[in-house]
């Protein structure tokens, strides 16, 4: 009786693990900062689909910059000031760039995503992975997946360098 129970328990516990959930390959994150990074707004203005780009940006642009369960997030041009860079601002979510106009947001934000070998967006969170977080400064090496004159731009990141968080003095 007990053995049967234990056997069942063992079976239950040793249930074949579900196909390992997708994750962002560690190789995406690099230690050395790529050189000659452009700005996010430059990328939006001066590239076309398929172009290889290197640009620097800051994660943010809306209250939830990271898409849940997808390796996709919004970044903002470094020229824009996030709320934490504004003296005396007490914004609860300083990465939402709430002080910027909709127009300047449209011109200075773009989406960064990480795709698998077949070009499909990875079904996993990017938030918290390897230092990716709201307000993190990153340099992305990637390929423009889509860009249009309506203000949309998505870059497939191949390599990401995350600027080490500055120690608060």
């Amino acid at each position: 009786m007990l053995t049967a129970f234990l056997f069942a328990l063992t079976l239950a516990l040793s249930e074949p693990p579900a196909a390992t959930p997708p994750s962002i390959p560690a190789a995406v994150f690099i230690e050395a900062m790529p050189k000659d990074a452009k700005s996010a707004s430059w990328v939006k203005k001066n590239t076309k689909q398929g172009d290889t780009v290197v640009f620097e940006a800051k994660i943010g642009g809306r209250a939830e910059p990271f898409v849940k369960n997808r390796a996709s997030f919004m970044v903002a041009d470094r020229a824009l000031k996030s709320c934490d860079e504004i003296e005396g601002d007490t914004c609860g979510k300083p990465w939402d760039y709430c002080c910027e106009s909709a127009e300047s947001k449209k011109a200075n934000m773009l989406m960064v995503q990480i795709v698998d070998a077949s070009g499909k967006l990875l079904k996993c969170d990017a938030n918290g992975v390897h230092g990716l977080a709201p307000l993190a400064v990153i340099v992305v090496e990637g390929v423009v997946a889509s860009v249009d004159d309506k203000g949309n731009c998505t870059v497939d990141a191949k390599k990401i360098w995350v600027k080490p968080a500055a120690k608060k003095s």
């Binding site: 898409v67 989406m111 731009c153």
Partner: protein, 385 residues
């Protein structure tokens, strides 16, 4: 610990039928109000849950997550979404994507004497794809409005909000007469209390160039796919969540209202509390000498307090039973109507339990003043009174 017989507590209830009635009445009032407010809360919650499907994606303008009525998204959103996200449910070869306008407008019967204080009713602009994403909706009578026509269909609760309206009658919406050509039902959901007209007609009527939302049946797609899509389309300025999540946060948004209802109920019922406690106090105070006698015989104050508490709790719980009967007979399903729809009071186990608990609590707490009065008196003084 030697206690007084249960019988003693029960028989004491019969000593003053008038006071007993006061206590039961007061408790019944309190418990009915508590039951009503919990039923209100539960009804709202149930309607929210029933209205929002977890299998639908709900796309609204960013910043309008809390109210689809304020949301504005480009009319092209639906078609772009349909073309961009793989795996959405299909109907007749088309992705199940429904573009809608939701707006609250005063609706009155044409020829109504006072159209001015007509209540706002939610009017939804729909396209046939709406039926693919709102399986809760069934046509009960008549037919659906035709494209571009001055026709509406109405949910039963919407008809109830416009006295005199029925299938075939004409209602004025934004000053334009519309014929009610159909009656639909979507029981338990907010749609049960809406007017539906065709999307193009409502856009024209309200002079809108934007829609309120796009609702898509996810099929094999996941909400993350739709979220990734809306996130990457800066130009659409929209955000995506499941329809279920939208209504869940809407319920959250109404939490203060629910709290207000509960607090109001408690405030109103404080009259009942005072009346009941007062009657109980009077009932016990008239027995000070008897309580002194019981102590003189050797019963502990604890035993006497326990007996008094049993007595008051039995009386108050009788009140809550009355409240439960009232709730089941009169309150259950009573429609609460407001601009974004309607829901029924839900006299369910949790609201009945709340009423019972209120009765028990009232019995326990209500006895305290009287117990303090009876048991702090020295025995000789009690015996002399």
């Amino acid at each position: 610990m030697k206690l007084l017989p249960f019988d003693y507590a029960i028989r004491n209830l019969g000593r003053s039928p008038k006071r007993l009635l006061l206590v039961i009445g007061g408790s019944a009032l309190v418990c009915t109000l508590v039951l009503g407010s919990v039923a209100f809360s539960r009804g709202m919650e149930t309607a929210m849950t029933a209205s929002g499907l977890a299998t639908n994606a709900f796309v609204v303008g960013s910043g309008s997550e809390e109210s689809v009525e304020r949301s504005e998204i480009p009319p092209s959103t639906g078609s772009i979404l349909a073309a961009s996200v793989d795996g959405l449910a299909m109907l007749a070869g088309q992705p199940a994507v429904s573009s809608e306008i939701h707006t609250a407008m005063p609706v009155s019967l044409v020829d109504a004497v006072s159209a001015e204080d007509a209540p706002p009713v939610l009017v939804r602009g729909f396209e046939p794809m709406a039926f693919a994403v709102h399986p809760q909706v069934r046509l009960r009578e008549g037919r659906w409005p035709a494209r571009g026509s001055d026709e509406v269909a109405a949910g039963p609760e919407a008809l109830a909000k416009v006295p005199g309206s029925a299938l075939g009658s004409h209602v004025a919406i934004a000053g334009v007469p519309f014929e009610i050509v159909g009656v639909f039902e979507a029981p338990g959901t907010v749609m049960h209390g809406e007017f539906w007209m065709r999307l193009d007609r409502l856009a024209q009527l309200t002079q809108r160039t934007t829609y309120s939302c796009v609702i898509a049946a996810l099929g094999t797609a996941e909400i993350g796919d739709v979220d990734a899509f809306t996130s990457s389309r800066l130009d659409l300025e929209s955000i995506a969540m499941t329809e279920h999540a939208y209504f869940a946060q809407l319920a959250e948004f109404f939490a203060p209202i629910r709290l207000l209802v509960l607090v109001t109920a408690i405030l109103i019922s404080s009259g009942g509390v005072l009346g009941g406690v007062n009657a109980m106090y009077a009932a016990f105070a008239s027995r000070v000498r008897e309580v002194g006698t019981l102590q003189a015989l050797g019963f502990s104050r604890f035993a006497i307090a326990a007996s008094l508490i049993v007595e008051s709790t039995v009386a108050c719980v009788s009140g809550s039973l009355v409240a439960c009967v009232i709730g089941l007979a009169l309150l259950d399903g009573v429609a609460i109507r407001f601009s974004m729809g309607s829901f029924g009071l839900a006299v369910d186990p949790s609201s009945l339990l709340a009423a019972l608990l209120a009765g028990v609590l009232l019995g326990l707490l209500g006895a305290i003043p009287a117990i303090v009065r009876c048991l702090t008196l020295p025995i000789p003084s009690a015996l002399r009174s």
